[in-house]
């Protein structure tokens, strides 16, 4: 097992990693920018190194500084958290070249799942149900037109280098496709370094369902349950739950087995999330996130498995010691991302927290580094806390969540709690009639001027 892990991240996920390290008896090194000198992730690590000024490009994203911090502290592994360098194959390679473990997948798997076309090919080879489309790159407008004509408009044009809601465009008709195709390729090239794009069938009202999986790179792979993250604003998840509600037992089993099959098929080692779109009892492969995800706690709460500890153990070369049969998710868990944003315009609201109280009691979990007197800096994402509740069933979890939100005091800055409260108490959410673009439509209908 590792002796000392450098946590190449900040905020709640850095503290989350430190928590599991402490339980496993592993020393920790925090890195921080000048803006985060007083952050609790710094206080709770055994050692801490300032790696640069506030802008992420000069600190958390600056690979030489992170690597040098690992070197001077003699850390034998690096945990990237999520975001920042977590899916950066070059960084993973550099960490490993320096003789340290990168707590994440192989460089090949990072490249495979970082490229949507390669990911789709791997999913197809594993027999996962795919959205119809160009079946590979649409290199020319003619190829894109041909694919769109077969699939039927509207189609979605996606950049191979995109993902997580970035680099995609809905195209309503052929004339529009003619107009935007080259532009899209140019944009993709500029944003992601590759101009390869592809055409996919566009679903109108899909739900976002994903499966938490883990593989040990030695032929072992398990699934740990489904999650539904269909409450999204502009493709950004704001509420997540486990298990995904409203799936038939058959569908839930199929979707999970297919996810584990993909992981097993490519010999993947560590935790990952396989994402799907679900519409009308059918599911379609979307993408793979080869890292720990923001919403991992809802799976922890239902499965009882510490996913970060599992991730660390797998990175250390341990075999998967959890038989599939032993994973029996219990109850229902929901997470909201409490962001420092105006709840209706979603404008960032950085600043100092002047009053703070976290909800507690049975079934309530808060992952956060916030406290009274702490500042949410304007340089990074706006997350203040993750609030996770666990109930006997979905209805119980929703009731518990509503009260926990009412009990969550964050003063001095605005948070997204008010909009999340309305969303989780809506009839659409209760009856599972929501879909990935529902929040956007609901917000537009709510304030037509926005």
């Amino acid at each position: 097992m590792f002796k000392k892990i450098l946590v190449a991240n900040r905020g709640e996920i850095a503290l989350r990693v430190i928590r599991s390290c402490r339980e496993l008896g592993i020393q920790t090194v925090a890195v921080f920018s000048e803006a985060d000198r007083h952050s609790l992730h710094v206080r709770f690590a055994d050692e801490a190194v300032c790696i640069g000024p506030a802008p992420a490009m000069k600190s958390y994203l600056h690979q030489p500084s992170v690597l040098a911090a690992a070197e001077v502290t003699d850390a034998d592994a690096v945990h990237p958290g999520y975001g920042f360098l977590a899916e950066n194959a070059e960084f993973a390679a550099a960490v490993r070249a320096s003789g340290r473990a990168f707590i994440g997948p192989s460089v090949d798997h990072l490249r495979m799942f970082g490229d949507k076309l390669l990911a789709k090919r791997a999913a197809k080879e594993a027999g996962l149900p795919m959205l119809s489309g160009s079946d590979g790159e649409a290199a020319t407008l003619a190829e894109a037109r041909a694919a769109a004509d077969v699939v039927g408009f509207p189609v979605i044009l996606k950049a191979a280098g995109g993902g997580g809601g970035k680099g995609m465009r809905i195209v309503e008709d052929g004339a529009t496709l003619d107009k935007v195709f080259e532009l899209c390729k140019a944009e993709a090239k500029a944003a992601f370094g590759t101009g390869r794009v592809f055409v996919e069938r566009y679903l109108r009202t899909p739900r976002h369902v994903e499966v938490q999986v883990a593989g040990d790179g030695q032929g072992g792979a398990i699934y740990l349950g489904t999650r539904d993250c269909s409450l999204q604003r502009r493709h950004q998840k704001i509420v997540e739950e486990a298990p995904a509600p409203g799936l038939s037992d058959k569908l839930a089993l199929e979707i999970q087995e297919s996810a584990a099959r993909l992981v097993r098929n490519v010999g993947y080692q560590t935790v990952a999330t396989v994402e799907y779109l679900v519409e009308d009892d059918r599911f379609f492969f979307l993408e793979v996130n080869p890292r720990i995800q923001v919403e991992h706690p809802v799976t922890e709460e239902t499965s009882g498995v510490d996913l970060v500890a599992l991730q660390i153990k797998l990175a250390a070369g341990e075999k998967l010691d959890i038989p599939q049969e032993s994973i029996k998710p219990v109850g229902h868990a929901i997470e909201i991302r409490v962001n420092a944003e105006d709840p209706w315009t979603f404008m960032p609201s950085p600043g100092r927290i002047t009053g703070y109280h976290e909800p507690g009691g049975p079934g309530v979990r808060v992952d956060s580094v916030a406290h009274e007197g702490a500042s949410i800096p304007p340089y990074y994402d706006s997350m203040v806390a993750k609030l996770i509740v666990r109930g006997r069933d979905r209805e119980h979890a929703i009731r518990k969540l509503v009260w926990a939100m009412d009990e969550f005091i964050v003063e001095g800055i605005k948070t997204t709690i008010p909009v999340q409260r309305e969303l989780v108490t809506s009839e659409e959410f209760r009856d599972v009639r929501h879909y990935t673009r529902w929040v956007d439509e609901w917000l537009a209908a709510r304030s037509p001027k926005e």
Binding site: H38, A48, C50, G52, P64, S65, A69, E71, T73, E372
Partner: protein
């Protein structure tokens, strides 16, 4: 001084979220600074963070010249090779662009140069020690 009027004034200032207030007329002058908002209260962190730099004593008096901070994370070397004399000593005169030390990171030897001419007053890091970004490494009296 009318305490009741004063109280009303301060209540109003608080309600308006005023941090500082000064007033003067022919008869009187008053200045109030309200707690809480004006000055940032001390952060929760009171215990020294066990930085890699924890062992290094902080710079002395503020008038002992200006501080040169490490521009990157790495290992500090006072000389180009073990056993060779250091680039600079206490009392050395240095000029702009002169190499003061090396910070090694990922096998790269980064020569750190003087940004202004002056005299080395103190070296704040021991040879071979790790430094973090922004950590004071030299104190230099300009001139």
């Amino acid at each position: 001084m009318d305490l009741d009027r004063l109280k009303s004034l301060i209540d109003m200032l608080k309600e308006l979220d005023v941090a500082e207030f000064r007033y003067k007329d022919a008869d009187m002058s008053v200045a109030v600074r309200l707690g809480g908002h004006a000055a940032l209260p001390p952060p929760v962190v009171h215990m020294p963070v066990p930085h890699v730099s924890a062992a290094i004593s902080p710079a002395a008096n503020a008038d002992d010249g200006s501080v040169l901070e490490a521009p990157m994370v790495g290992t500090f070397y006072a000389s180009s090779k073990p056993g060779t004399p250091p680039f600079v000593e206490i009392g050395s005169r240095v000029s702009v662009g002169q190499t003061l030390c090396i910070i090694e990171a990922m096998k790269l030897m980064n020569e750190i140069e003087a940004e202004a001419s002056g005299t080395i007053v103190a070296r704040l890091v021991e040879d071979g020690q790790p430094v973090e970004y922004g950590q004071p490494i030299f104190r230099i009296r300009p001139g």
